[in-house]
Amino acid sequence: MSTGSSVIVPGPTREPGSLKLVATLVVAGVLSGAGLVATYDATLPIVQANQARALREAVFLVVPGSTKLEPFAWQGDRLVAAAEPGTNASGAPPAEVFAARDDAGTLLGYAIPAEGAGFQDTIRLLVGYEPAGRRIVGVKVLESRETPGLGDKIAKDAQFAANFEALAIDPEVVLVKRGEKTAPNQVDAITGATISSRAVVKVLDAVARTWASRLESAS
């Protein structure tokens, strides 16, 4: 049933007509290339616009009040301007963190993509961080394959999301059973999804440990 049982890979062959074979492939390649480039060029702006919009929406969500973003990467020991996501302008490093500003241009915080092992598979998050208050101000789940109805509540449960409206990162971010949150650095777990909750907390804590000091020095 496998498709490849008779794949014949282009290559030198001594049979007469080999020129024709190569020519066919070259022609096919050129035609296909042309088709691809045409489609690519036609769709590229739309795709990039989609991606940029999605990114902006996510960033503005995790850093409430922000309306503008600016990509940065961490190089050596400082933040450097990075490529706008979606474009691949040569030269600039890929974005690692986004500064989020309001209309006035005031820096409200940073949005930091991060990931970690969840219950089922890798969980990808965008974390909103406010250096001034040393606190996390918003989290969005970009990607997860957690169990519907259980683990996927990390993306859907409003009560869980409320944990991140103002979550202190000092001394560390910790998970507690639902309803037992007493301190600003604690996260109320989702009942029945302790593992996914803990995975999120682990990611948040790791983000805090890596980025808090960096961003402090930067701003």
């Binding site: 049933m1 496998s2 490849g4 040569s90 969840g118």
Partner: protein, 193 residues
């Protein structure tokens, strides 16, 4: 770091087993004969091709695709197929024994979806070279595990009076479903728990 690699490995092998959780390489999985050694050698051949694939995909992603992203699919397919064929010829020369053990399977698997799937997942996730290789070995080990389990069960099922309606692919799908249920036990392994 080594913990991270172990997690990638176990993730691809059991937690998100390529066959039972990602539905990749189903054709050989359902087509495999009931013979254990065939299943096992097919699995080994898969590991082998997956590792080559991982290396190729990493190189392509690193050096070609930034300039021509639309060639991703075509280049993956053609380059992987050619390199595997090249390696196949090399093995034939260098180690006829190894060729006899694995060789007959190589053309069969070069373009199955597990191979292409690995290349795509690995680039989508942005794995580095080493991570990619570990991912490939884990995925291959997972394919091998699934193939070997299925081969054993098939031998048993052939001796059973499976109802006529279920014979053939239906019973195999249901068995795969149960295996997939059983593999859910590995969820969260070495993860956040």
């Amino acid at each position: 770091m080594s913990g991270h690699l172990l997690w990638i490995f176990l993730g691809a092998m059991v937690v998100n087993n390529f066959t039972l959780s990602y539905f990749l390489g189903l054709c050989p999985f359902f087509g495999v004969s009931g013979r254990l050694d065939t299943a096992f050698r097919l699995g080994l051949a898969n590991i082998f091709v997956l590792v080559i694939t991982s290396a190729c995909a990493w190189a392509l992603d690193r050096f070609i695709l930034p300039y021509a992203p639309y060639l991703k699919l075509i280049s993956f397919i053609l380059v992987i197929a050619s390199v595997v064929q090249f390696v196949e010829m090399a093995i034939k020369k260098l180690s006829p024994a190894l060729f006899r053990a694995l060789g007959i399977f190589l053309p069969l698997i070069t373009t199955n979806c597990a191979i292409l799937g690995l290349a795509l997942f690995q680039t989508n996730r942005g794995y580095g070279f080493l991570e990619g290789i570990v991912f490939a070995i884990g995925a291959g080990a997972g394919l091998t595990l699934a193939l070997v389990l299925m081969a054993g069960i098939r031998v048993e099922v052939e001796l059973s009076d499976v109802p006529a309606a279920a014979r053939g692919t239906a019973i195999q799908l249901l068995i795969a479903g149960i295996l997939s249920l059983a593999f859910m036990g590995f969820a969260g392994l070495l993860g956040a728990g």
